[in-house]
């Protein structure tokens, strides 16, 4: 999963770094939304908190002129079941702002250049990827090294090139400096403010925030670990996977796929698909998996509703094939639907693993192609029949 934060969580982080923000209230139901609107004494924006973009176009950001309005809007948004991101669980209620100008600011890790990229554009509120395709020169870009200190003066020219000077230039350069520091100190991969606005009273404000965090750095950010966006959008299977440290992506097919190593796992999915099968899941047990981990991988795969059979493809370097075999045998005791399991086992201790499986009636393959063929053949044989 891409680890994105909800808008309100991103704004909490930005607040720590001194960004100008409007007051907002997070609510989980229409009644609280109405109460929040009552406290604002003015029109408010009702903003669905989802991990996706284009909310305005999808009716997920609406203005509520009265508290009753807001109650109605909130009810309709919470009832939405057509969103690919899943159901809306939270709304952010914010004061409606009169916008004079919209700008774009972002900071991200540029993996190609191995530097930090800061972007600034006087055209905010637009699809920046689209603008970058049509007219890349319209977006001001500046790259800095990972060890460069990002002070406001570093960005005067960048901001100036977009037509700003005087007090506003200094302010916006300061925002960019804060954004770069936020990226570094919070271990972010990307932080985007689109739009950053000046109100009709010429007040600066962050109106939206899209923030992506580095999962490998979560251990040093307790705040991030507790963020709602991280945990609540996983389904039951994904939670199980996370608990058992399994890299798992649910797909739409019916052949379960378990392998070790991301590249081999992806390639196995590719090959099964190319040979006419459909894959139910990508599941990478990683290197050096214990019997218990392999067992949980299989048990997870058995739980996928539409799975008809499972292919386990192990090339063991640090992974021990005897451990894999033990894990498979243990899991088969819980294979209540008696789903066929085809195993390919090669590498460290493979002869021991093959023998363990043979003792339990499973003939393990050594090479990948015949194992794939067997899987596809068996899947075809199951066509038209029920699970036995």
């Amino acid at each position: 999963m891409i680890i994105l934060l909800y808008e309100y969580e991103g704004k909490l982080l930005l607040k720590k770094y001194g960004f100008p923000l409007t007051y907002g209230k997070v609510v989980d139901n229409p009644q609280d939304a109405k109460v929040a609107a009552e406290n604002f004494h003015s029109p408010v924006m009702v903003k669905a908190q989802i991990l996706g973009g284009g909310r305005g176009k999808r009716g997920l950001i609406q203005m509520g002129k009265t508290p009753l309005d807001v109650h109605q809007i909130a009810t309709s948004i919470f009832a939405r079941n057509d969103l690919p991101e899943g159901p809306v669980r939270h709304l952010l209620i914010e004061q409606a702002i009169q916008i004079q100008q919209e700008l774009y600011l972002s900071a991200l890790i540029d993996r190609d250049r191995k530097q930090i990229l800061l972007m600034f554009c006087s055209q905010g509120g637009v699809d920046i990827e689209e603008l970058n395709q049509k007219n890349p020169k319209a977006i001001g870009k500046q790259w800095v090294d990972f060890d460069t200190k990002m002070f406001p003066y570093c960005f005067y020219d960048l901001v100036g090139s977009q037509g700003f000077d005087g007090r506003k230039k200094i302010l916006l350069a300061t925002m960019l400096s804060k954004l770069g520091n936020l990226l570094r100190d919070e271990d972010l991969l990307m932080a985007e403010i689109n739009p950053f606005v000046f109100t009709t009273n010429d007040l600066p404000l962050v109106l939206d925030a899209k923030i992506s965090v580095d999962p490998s750095a979560q251990y040093r950010h307790i705040e991030q670990q507790q963020m709602a966006s991280l945990g609540e959008n996983l389904n039951i299977l994904e939670v199980y996977a996370q608990t058992n440290d399994l890299a798992f992506v649910q797909l739409n097919g019916d052949i379960g796929m378990i392998s070790c190593g991301a590249g081999l796992s992806m390639a196995t999915c590719d090959l099964l698909t190319q040979m006419g099968g459909t894959v139910a899941n990508f599941l990478d047990v990683g290197g050096g998996a214990s019997a218990e981990k392999v067992q949980s991988a299989l048990e997870l795969t058995f739980k996928i509703p539409q799975v008809k059979l499972v292919f386990v493809n192990i090339f063991g370097g640090i992974t021990r094939c005897d451990q894999v075999a033990e894990g498979i045998i243990a899991a088969l005791k819980k294979n209540l639907q008696h789903l066929p399991v085809i195993v390919r086992l090669i590498g460290t201790n493979d002869q021991i693993g093959v023998r363990i499986l043979a003792d339990h009636g499973i003939k393990a393959f050594t090479t990948m192609e015949p194992a794939l063929n067997e899987t596809i053949t068996m899947r075809k044989q199951l066509d038209g029949g029920n699970h036995q």
């Binding site: 890790i109 190593g261 590249g263 796992s265 990683g286 090339f315 640090i318």
Partner: protein, 295 residues
């Protein structure tokens, strides 16, 4: 771009290796295997365990301590993610010229710090989240199983681990030997990349053709394709993993993520096709392509 100056000498007797994190499970297991394969490991570090030994290799608290007794120019790191930044900086402070980072889940900003400093000081970083390097019959710095390789003239460079083993194994079964295999790792930010390895293989008299194993996410393959077109004389065969991966989902590797239009398999295939670089649709096809070339 890190220069590849140390790779040609890595497998000679002038390579002297220290294993950082030698007493951990991974450190111990792979030290044994590397020694068996002929790698010149002279010492190991494990803070607080100086005086111990692993497979006969002396353990020290720090690289500096080890250097009082041994000449060292290379390090391999088997240390958990949170401590890799310190370990890599320690290796750079010690003046080592090649550092291989096997560890997965190193924080991205830490990798950024490491490769930025390494670039300025002309130190070669390989990884993180990689299986390392192997030069069949001579030595290895990493975790690639020695028994799946045979000596030969195909240079292999890859973003993945076990998929690389699968392909090396297929090549060896078909009696197509390898000059060297380099695993550059599956993370979005990393040390040496495809281009560094392509440059090396193109200049290496022992390499006659090149196999490049890529995957979804990022633009490494597109950039490599352009480089191949402009600078590489030897034939290159490509295999890509993740053709059927859905966008928006991280497929195991932190770097295997299709986001918007960026990193998609379609883009990579399109660019490779434009420049007429053969792409195998399944691993065995790599062998078919290689045999055709050498006819």
């Amino acid at each position: 771009m890190n220069s590849l100056v140390t790779l040609p000498t890595f497998i000679s007797s002038s390579t002297k290796v220290i294993v950082q994190g030698i007493t951990g499970y991974q450190g111990k297991f792979h030290t044994k295997n590397m020694l068996e394969y002929g790698t010149n490991i002279v010492a190991g570090t494990s803070p607080g365990k100086s005086g111990e030994s692993v497979e006969g290799i002396p353990v020290y608290d720090s690289i500096k301590d080890a250097q009082l007794h041994h000449e060292i120019n290379t390090s391999i790191i088997f240390i958990p993610g949170p401590a890799v930044l310190a370990a890599a900086f320690e290796a750079m402070d010690a003046g080592l010229s090649l550092i291989v980072i096997i560890t997965e889940h190193v924080p991205v900003w830490d990798v950024g710090q490491i490769i930025t400093r390494a670039s300025k000081e002309h130190i070669t970083i390989i990884g993180p989240n990689c299986p390392g390097i192997i030069s069949p019959g001579m030595g290895k710095l990493g975790i690639i199983p020695g028994n799946i390789c045979i000596s030969g003239h195909v240079g292999v460079v890859s973003r993945s681990g076990t998929l690389t083993y699968e392909i090396l194994h297929e090549l060896s079964l078909a009696n197509i030997g390898q000059s060297m295999c380099v695993g550059i790792g599956g993370d979005p930010l990393h040390g040496i990349g495809f281009i560094d390895c392509l440059a090396y293989f193109d200049a290496d008299p022992n390499t006659k053709s090149i196999v490049l194993i890529g995957e979804i996410g990022g633009s490494d393959e597109e950039n490599a394709t352009e480089y191949i077109h402009n600078f590489v004389h030897k034939p290159v065969i490509v295999y890509l993993a993740g053709r059927t991966a859905p966008p928006g989902k991280k497929m195991g590797h932190a770097g295997a993520l299709v986001s918007g239009k960026s990193g998609s398999i379609e883009n990579k295939l399109h660019v490779l096709e434009q420049f007429h670089i053969p792409v195998a649709t399944f691993p065995k096809e790599i062998i078919t392509f290689l045999r055709k070339i050498h006819e």
